[in-house]
Symmetry: C2
Subunit: 372 residues, 2 copies
């Protein structure tokens, strides 16, 4: 029932924009919103398909094996996105979150909301608007009053909650179909492992988690295996990571793993990945110089010790002849102004962008030399 | 009872940092937190002292005159900050918020929390950490484990809630005193009038509201008269604005005021200020090009019409011979990437910084030519 588009084409250049807008309203006010289950569309950002539920991140086989907090966090849909195509003048969503989580240093939109991006002609993904949660279940129009034309969309999923159900709504006079363009590219994604920050704490909305920013910048799928407070180098997670046919692996666990845990398990964790992916670049990232380390001497010493440990372990790997390993220093990660966190630790959108500025060029360079 | 500082001075250069840190813990673990009412210290960011309660923004005389939503918002402590000085190794706060507000597109820290900055030797205000609210009343340590030395602090107050009470806590072995340095400078503040965005929506924490960023960059007190959804050119607010002996007035009402309201009241609003401040620069700011205007045709037309109206009214003032009026265009306000808002409208910290990047140099130039 998509008759707006042909009318548009027919009238192209013959009527003014104002008339078009009027026409659009006349039509769209008569249109009903019809919903389709989002699971009908491609879901990006999963390391494995062996999950119990659609929007989970670890395989069901780990349910009784992984530590309970790690398992619970694996049910958050961090870093996932739905791809679809529509000619609708409005896009709506309804969803039920798993736990109706709330945190006092992150917006509900970031925790359990969604946000929508649209692919522009030049291949740039542009933010459309966000879906602000009103409770455990929400039904909301993300954007309305668009000119009816075919667009490619990406809908980012909650960072700090899971999804029991999700539907995408468009007006009944329009199409809602599979994407036509493969963007971001799904072949050879970048797989990230990390802490609360990597899981998206504390982006203002899901699309601003740095793995999502990086995915848009690289035009490549990214897999987010961030587990708040729980990037403790659990070896079963390394095994999950190996399931990703990645172009690059990024290991950003230092904010969580202790010096002892790194000494005990970092090399084992690395070897599990390396044994299955003999030539794939593996990036290690230092602990951010948290902005309050200028004041809190205990945190400052801890960061310094952890980064020293990482550097020592990295050098040891190098000395053993390990190739295609890269260490990213955190000196310039958060900029020089001290403003990029909400609580000294967790990145605001400003911090997320600065992290992407630091890490993206390193990955890009690796991808370019891979493709030579 | 401040004996840490003399010990530090005595030992200066003779003991290692590690020993100092140990000493610090030994002392600080024995220290109790003692609180003083924050109202004992300078409160920055008020347009008038004639308020009914300490942390309110409009004079009590308007209680039964102003529209109820405007009056309610005037009880939010947006843009206010407490200045103090302390040698404490930790800073704590306890406070009771007025309404225990919550919004789904802003963090609780931004809505009803606080954040602390410290003056560095070179005069730069550096973020220390935030006080994350846990309910209507909260008691929390903002920062701990600092080396004991005298520091100047600035504590920003909630953006979207009021305060019934606020106390500052330091360890009992340290000082808590009036500031010694006047920073930001309080003479000739910059007075801002505006909408939800200006009130600080949706900064991640109070210090990231753009009037607070601008105040730090200018090293000058800023007055925040932002009223979410209610910058409707109410003339009694113009009268309050005239009470500020400002260096510059910034009028940023277009996000709220309709075309009709602007045509009806903008010049009257302006005249009230101009009649009392014949030579003070008055800046008008265009509506932001909200990021979803690329998609939502209705919002796009509205922004375009409002900005056209502002430009016409501004030109009319110019033609009438009005001097020292400046119009800031919004074309580059939010950058080109579309990423600076949480919901198309309200600025994240990224948007707040970009707004400051646009507006600060204009104010700075005016301040420089004022001082010639």
């Amino acid at each position: 029932m998509n008759f707006i588009l042909p009318i548009m084409k027919l009238l192209d250049g013959k009527i003014t924009r104002s008339v078009l807008v009027l026409l659009l309203f006349a039509l769209s006010t008569r249109a009903q919103i019809v919903y389709q289950d989002a699971s009908n569309f491609p879901l990006l950002g999963k390391a494995t398909e062996k999950t119990g539920a659609h929007y989970e991140r670890l395989p069901d086989s780990l349910k009784n094996i992984s530590r309970p907090p790690l398992w619970a966090l694996s049910r958050n849909s961090a870093g996932m996105a739905i791809r679809f195509r529509s000619t609708s003048t409005k896009i709506a969503v309804k969803w039920e979150s798993l736990s109706n989580n709330h945190m006092n240093h992150m917006t509900d939109v970031g925790v359990k909301g969604l946000d929508l991006y649209c692919l522009e002609e030049k291949g740039y993904w542009r933010f459309v608007n966000s879906a602000r949660p009103t409770g455990k279940t929400t039904e909301v129009t993300i954007i309305a009053n668009m000119l009816p034309k075919e667009r490619e969309f990406m809908l980012y999923l909650p960072l700090y909650d899971g999804l029991i159900s999700l539907s995408i709504g468009v007006d009944s006079l329009s199409s809602l179909e599979q994407p036509m363009i493969e963007s971001p590219i799904r072949n050879k994604p970048v797989a990230f492992y990390g802490s609360s920050i990597l899981q998206g704490g504390c982006a203002s909305r899901p699309g601003m988690a740095h793995t999502n920013i990086i995915s848009r910048r690289l035009n490549r799928e990214c897999i987010n295996l961030g587990f708040s407070g729980n990037a403790l180098l659990d070896l079963e997670v390394a095994k999950v990571i190996t399931e990703v046919d990645a172009s690059v692996f990024v290991l950003d666990f230092v904010p969580n793993a202790s010096v002892e845990q790194m000494k005990e398990r970092m090399e084992a964790f690395y070897r599990i990945i390396r044994n299955k992916h003999s030539n794939t670049p593996i990036i290690f990232i230092e602990d951010p110089i948290f902005t309050h380390t200028l004041f809190d001497q205990v945190i400052a010493r801890e960061v310094q010790k952890k980064n020293q440990t990482l550097n020592e372990l990295f050098s040891a790997l190098k000395k053993k002849g390990e190739k295609n390993i890269i260490l990213i220093h955190s000196k310039n990660m958060l900029g020089g102004d001290g403003e990029a966190t909400v609580d000294g630790i967790h990145f605001t959108d400003l911090g997320m962008m600065r992290y992407a500025d630091l890490v993206c060029p390193v990955i890009q360079k690796l991808l370019r030399s891979n493709s030579k």
